[in-house]
Amino acid sequence: MNDGPPVLAAPEEYEEYFEATIARDQRIEPRDWMPDGYRRTLIRQIAQHAHSEIIGMQPEGEWITRAPSLRRKAILFAKVQDEAGHGLYLYSAAETLGADRADLTERLIEGRQKYSSIFNYPTPTFADVGVIGWFVDGAAICNQVPLCRSSYGPYARAMVRICKEESFHQRQGYELLRTMMSGTDAQRQMVQDSVNRWWWPSLMMFGPPDENSPNSAASMAWKIKRHSNDELRQRFVDMTVPQAEKLGVTLPDPDLRWNEERGRHDFGTPDWDELMRVIKGDGPCNAQRVERRRTAHEEGAWVREAAAAHAAKQTARAQQGAAV
């Protein structure tokens, strides 16, 4: 610590100090005073981010036992392991705000907290593993790199570690697709089919359009979020189009074209009704994803109880030993 925060007397001063810290682009840390709304927004966002990592293990985890080469199997194991690790960092970051991991897990399995809409889509073919790496991790990077400068310190620091690993996954996903595209006709068709299924859901990962995004204004004012949904979506499209060309696949959007004037790509409108349905729980895999998480949690209860009981016994024994 250097000088540390000044000693403040009145609530107005706390608020002023908070606002000034944000304005100076300095970080808010767990012991700092913060407005309740800031705390609540952050808990919600970080928890949903953590839940997304954990639920996100499922669509790819589906393919661990069927991966068609040992190398791909090893890559998948490592990726799913990283995702569990990301979930752990993020739950820790949420806990610095006074949330409790067990409570957040309850909220997830009771449907009171959400996770990324994208993980409610199924992975019927192995190409989906590559496309998830390319699109979904690519979109996550667009979203998350700016979060490395988020105003809340623990969140920003978690994102630095996570982004490094995500970009590694993205490259691996793209590399799988390149291998498949230089393979058999069946493999190429599998890739194109997967691209067709995942493109629009990936654009929806950035959330609703700006004029319809209730939490954005506050998040941007507090510098939790750095860019609007539409801006990030545009960046993703601009980044992905040349990659698609290089790969030799088409993106399923007849309105997609380069706009010379803007120096950016124009593209069609995602089906926002579909996004609303998926967010409200009515997507293709919502029920099964949450059910699987619930089952793992419930079936694991006796294991967690055993660990707690054992730890308590060990503590009691140590105290007894010390007393003797």
Partner: protein, 240 residues
Amino acid sequence: MTLDATTRTAALALGDDALVLSHRLGEWAGHAPVLEEEVALANIALDLLGQARVLLSMVGDEDELAYLREERAFRNLQLVEQPNGDFAHTIARQLYFSTYQHLLYAELAAAEGPFAPLAAKAVKEVAYHRDHAEQWTLRLGDGTDESRERMRRACGALWRFTGEMFQPVAGLDVDGTALEAAWLASVTAVLDRATLPVPEGPRTGAWAAGAGRQGLHTESFGRMLAEMQHLHRSHPGASW
């Protein structure tokens, strides 16, 4: 490296053990009782898969060997192909196997045979697997009444598959009797600390000791292979 036929047979046996157990642990992804165990089980599986890839590559093409052999050509222990069951079952399997593998690899690492380089690296990984299994055996055995009962049942159910580990394997220059004695002493000590009884009864496997090493497997193994090999077999000659 050109290996003689018996060394290749032994590499296949050790490689298949690691491959099959890694696959079983992969079935836990997204199902583990706590997130820390998602990480731990994937980590162990990844270590085992790494070992399998080195060992199978000593014999031939790793993917051909993994994906194109039939059940009867696999040389793994019946222990490692046993279904996961509950978490206690998985831990009992890990305890039995990692103790064996740790003792075996320590011996192979100390010798100068063809497995010494692999064993020297693997023994460090396996020491961690063994510690993980022992810690969980203690937690579950000396935890709640329910966890003790589950752990007791799991240790008992898998006991009959443990004798196979000490049958001689051509090309593997180890003293099976000494290995077995060390294994029994170690497992007994862990079970004692976990307040669990040492299981009684035969340790001769489903048909006979050594069956898995001869390509005779238990029923669930064929289904496991069907899942593992399906995509690879559906696209002959494709690379991934």
